[in-house]
């Protein structure tokens, strides 16, 4: 299988798998225990905490381990005091659904390039605004959001700022101090660590109220015995150099645009993560193209993985103003560690072949 869906999930890197297996089989103590097996488990957690802190440029004690991106986002959104919150139309459901659950929220829309305007965020401020949450990079288009500017706006207004960094971590440099964020979410399986582990950065001095109740783990911000092997693996993934996908992504994108008339890139004019290309094939059903490519051994995505089975076209693409038809004709290619030029060339050839067959069936005026 040629895998081009790294924004949905990534394979575990070999170095990370070594750590995972070793800790899984050898480190059995409860990190809260006083004895040496417990202390050994604790060491792995604290080493991972330091590795994540190095990746994000923060202090280890500012890292709260969670079960993944959704829990990190939920903790950030639901863990701050009551009041008005502002977020955007292109967030992951982990943010949008949590905001809806809270109530009293304003959803700010985005430009045709899939980027939110800081001015629009400023215009949505209210005296009782307590939190602004804007993702760092979008999962469907890769569009990078003006997070630092918006963080400054939040602080001017006396509100906290959270960013969902699930798609940015491990792909682009993240410096939480330079960005000025108060909270930042990440998820292990998006950057070659296993599923079931993630983290929330919480700036020193910011209080988040726990969302689950039990022991006093993670400085009383997240109860429950820590996922020691997962956390150790997350730490080792944080220490990897980010995959170099930019040249391959650009090659893929240029080739498709040149060879297949009518195609265009969503968020083309926005700064984007170097691994993501979301392309409209006007008049084609992306679902049919996806299945064709899968049968030929190439895994790609339509919309976000979480939306599969749902009827609605991608909420991200429709928020950018794409017609329902163009949104349903969009394919997301997301590259990662391990993709090669040969794979990309084979993908291009197969996309071309599948599109030619599909276009024979449904004539397009594009």
């Amino acid at each position: 299988m040629n895998y081009f869906d790294h924004n949905a999930s990534t394979p575990i890197a070999p170095e990370v798998l070594d750590v995972l297996q070793q800790v899984q089989s050898e480190v059995y103590g409860n990190p809260s225990s006083i004895h040496s097996p417990g202390q050994r488990a604790r060491q792995y957690i604290e080493e991972a905490r330091a590795q994540i802190a190095r990746l994000l440029n923060c202090d280890p004690k500012e890292i709260v381990f969670t079960s993944g991106g959704t829990e990190a986002d939920n903790l950030a959104i639901l863990g701050v005091p009551p009041g008005h919150i502002i977020t955007t139309a292109i967030e992951h459901p982990a943010v949008l659904a949590a905001a809806e659950h809270r109530g009293n929220s304003t959803i700010v829309t985005v430009s045709a390039d899939g980027v939110v305007s800081p001015d629009d965020i400023r215009a949505a401020l209210r005296p009782d605004t307590v939190l602004i949450s804007v993702m760092h990079a979008n999962n469907e288009t890769g569009a990078i959001q003006p997070v630092a500017e918006i963080a400054a706006i939040a602080h001017e207004a006396g509100a906290l700022f959270h960013s969902d960094g699930v798609q940015a971590t491990g792909r682009i440099p993240v410096d939480v101090r330079a960005l000025g964020v108060d909270m930042y979410s990440l998820s292990g399986h998006k950057f070659n660590a296993p599923k079931g582990v993630g983290a929330l950065y919480v700036r020193d001095g910011v209080k988040v109220n726990a969302r689950q109740f039990g022991g006093r783990h993670e400085r009383e911000r997240r109860a429950g015995t820590e996922n020691v092997p997962g956390i150790a693996a997350l730490g080792s993934a944080a220490a990897l150099a980010p995959p170099d996908t930019l040249a391959l992504r650009d090659h893929l994108e240029h080739s498709i645009l040149n060879r297949i008339p009518g195609t265009r890139v969503n968020s083309a004019a926005a700064p984007r993560t170097p691994n993501t290309s979301n392309i409209v094939f006007p008049g084609l059903e992306a679902e049919a193209l996806l299945i064709s490519l899968d049968l030929a051994g190439f895994a790609v995505a339509t919309g976000a993985a979480c939306s599969s089975g749902a009827v609605r076209p991608s909420h991200v693409l429709t928020a950018m103003g794409l017609s329902a038809s163009d949104a349903k004709s969009s394919i997301r290619f997301s590259l990662g560690r391990g993709n090669t030029l040969e794979q990309v060339d084979a993908l291009i050839a197969n996309v071309e072949r599948s599109v030619a067959r599909l276009r024979k069936l449904s004539p397009v005026d594009a």
């Binding site: 679902e287 299945i291 009827v311």
Partner: protein
Amino acid sequence: MPDPSPDTLIAVAMSGGVDSSTVAALLQREGHRLVGMTMQLWNQRRLPELQVEGATGRCCSLDDVYDARAVANILGIPYYVVNFEDDFERTVVKPFIDEYLSGRTPIPCTLCNNHVKFDKFLEMAEGVGASHVATGHYARVSFNPDSGRYELRKGVDESKDQTYFLFGLTQPQLARTLFPLGGMTKPEVRALAASLKVPTAAKHDSQEICFVPNGDYAAFIDAWFKDQGIPRQSIQGEIVDTSGKVLAGHHGVHHYTVGQRKGLNVAVGEPLYVIATNPMTQQVIVGRNEDLLRRTLTAKDVNWVSVAPITEPRSAQVKIRNKHLAAQAMLIPTSDPKRVEVRFDTPQRAVTPGQAAVFYDGDLVLAGGWIE
């Protein structure tokens, strides 16, 4: 049956039921390359007030997808759920409701076959590189070299025959369609399913119209309007006898269908039946059983399936409901080849506008159209 070459890809429409699961297992045993697909046509969570306990006739439930996926996994064939909810709404549900409110009794299964299963699905199958589609319908297709046409015949199991719903198929559609169960009886299919270790071998047959729980059309239509946010004025109508005498009131002609006896709430000496409904005047006309008898009907939008349109009268057997025993009749062509007059040898009960009239010569499907 059209015989695809062994290296072509066949798309199997898998509902999660025993029939389509057996089709997949059978074609795989014959060595074909397969891709399984389940059509997601209807969101079961959409009309919550219809989610009654123990409802029959549910389609596209998570359980069905789960079953279809499990069968595909066991067979080791690629499998996908394809979402046609928008097409289904536009080409099946909406016309179904319009027909009902116009006083006709529609057949959504035929619309679904014409517009979704053998149109949209066929297009999707071709798009992913499949040359044929296979379904679990009880019907047979064969090519007649003399006429140069594909012919549609009843399934061998007359009690399961589904050709009444398939009369809209065109020659290009038939050319790419496989009905591997057409030569088998249902008990044979169940036995084959068991021998092929199909996990759904003992699953119950689906019933009624798949998206209408318990066959309660009126409740479905009311719930649909509520879902669309379209306010409906409460409808007041009259139940009248054939002389125009008002016998009772009612809440909309869509609660009634021709031939219906139950639920009229009219007490007179003899049993009364609905013989017609008029949506313009909101009148439900009731009468005696013999008032339901008709000797002729006109079918419109006739699709000539296995033979060319007739130019001379010809005898045929005509079915006016799925469970109707085909009745001997003469087909009389009109100036429009898509309109045919049907003259029955003996009068038929409850000729219902909106239902299909399907013309047979023995087990051969000649044509079918919609009763005016």
